[in-house]
Symmetry: C2
Subunit: 267 residues, 2 copies
């Protein structure tokens, strides 16, 4: 694939992406419903983590889910088939060079994709052309700058910063969430409405501690261990200490917070 994806495509990573979607789906997508008969483009479907949720919640809509990775697409297809859903068509395509005719879709949905692109504004502007006038664009992105935890630890902070730096090196922006409003506005969309979704995990919410703090966020940081150490961004001892500190935020008196940003706008 011609795409330097910071999170990697390892089996474990796929597991993380699926966990992430399972835990977060309700929070992120509960208010996304597409009318029966509408044509929806899911741009960058990855392994289909969101696809299943979307297609199930809008059973009358017709989804076209595209991704740049044939391997991810195969997994997404399998996942949708296993869920017994028949309203999704998959296509191998690069977001940066989509060949759909102008105004082909009533709605476009993009989740955890812009953060990996060197020019998210251009991507939004090009996706906008796929939309009919009056059609909606839905974008969801995280922002690592929102990660807040207790106990605080400066090596945990540095470990997270390594992930941000590696994503920047790959041309992306792990802190993109906060920019959704200006990006959608500058890309020419109207009626931009951003609503953040805050994840809060402490011992009173063990399913979030397990599903989000451990299996999503910490797993995502740990996934770049090899590259961080190979590039000597942290010493092995520093890295271990930072990861241990992150794990304490999932402990009995630990706290972890993270915000996702969801933007909906109209062409």
């Amino acid at each position: 694939m011609g795409f330097d994806y910071v999170h990697g495509y390892s089996q474990r990573e796929v597991g993380r992406l699926l966990d992430q979607a399972g835990t977060l789906s309700e929070l992120l997508h509960c208010d996304t419903r597409f009318p029966a008969g509408s044509r929806v483009l899911e741009a960058g479907c990855g392994v289909g983590a969101q696809t299943v949720f979307l297609a199930r919640n809008s059973p009358g809509a017709k989804f076209t889910s595209v991704d740049v990775s044939a391997d991810s697409l195969a997994r997404a297809r399998e996942r949708v088939r296993a869920a017994g859903l028949e309203n999704v068509t998959f296509e191998l395509a690069d977001l940066k060079s989509l060949s759909f005719p102008a105004e082909s879709f009533d709605h476009v949905f993009v989740c955890f994709v812009l953060e990996h692109l060197a020019d998210p504004l251009e991507a939004l502007a090009s996706l906008r052309l796929c939309l009919r006038p009056g059609g909606t664009m839905t974008v969801i992105e995280g922002d690592h700058g929102t990660a807040l935890f207790h106990p605080e630890d400066h090596l945990a902070r540095r470990a997270i910063q390594c992930l941000v730096d590696l994503q920047a090196k790959a041309g992306g922006d792990a802190n993109l969430g906060r920019r959704l409003r200006p990006l959608l506005h500058q890309a020419g969309f109207d009626r931009v409405a951003v609503s953040p979704r805050l994840v809060y995990a402490d011992a009173a919410r063990p399913e979030w501690v397990e599903g989000f703090t451990r299996n999503t966020f910490i797993a995502m940081v740990e996934a770049v261990a090899g590259e961080v150490l190979a590039r000597e961004m942290m010493t092995p001892a520093e890295w271990r200490s930072g990861i241990e500190a992150l794990r304490r935020t999932a402990g009995p008196d630990g706290v972890f917070c993270y915000a996702f940003f969801k933007g909906v706008a109209v062409r």
Copy 2:
């Protein structure tokens, strides 16, 4: 007064506190209702910004609102009188040496107070003794570590850090919000439930840009200008630049986020 309050007691500051409560009341207090006949202690009522909202929403409850500043208490009393509320009694008292008999109250409410105390755990433990068994404790605190904005700017960050450092110097912790769960747990409370409240302000929500970003957060940072410059924590040029950068987050393509933490627990 024997209390080094980082935000000061100037007229402007009082205005800020009132603005803050007006804009945020619904978000922070909408789910706080005390039953008719219940005895409620508001510990640290300040100028009565929260008092009016609480007393109006629980007209049958009897509030005892205490503060360490006679001046603030006079303003709170006037405010409650102007609102036509008759279910509040005021008392001059120091949170650190309350003289109420044990188990005097059914509920205790504390808002924006623990962040200013050197030993918030001790304060919670002592407030717990004022509660009857089964009574509830409600605590609301901000956390400046949650401040997230666009455009990002390192002098804006430093200006905020000055506020955090000054509050720490005065014995407080401007980043206390994230610690509500461990503090309540360690103070001996049961069934601790923390729910964060996220403020998000962009051009689509002008009332939040004005009421929160400008008149609450930026005003709070600006209020320590004199002390920052007197202590040479930043040069005048750096400070001006940092404040200007903060103001850009309230501009047409600016974004500002902040999270408050609300904890409810049971004795």
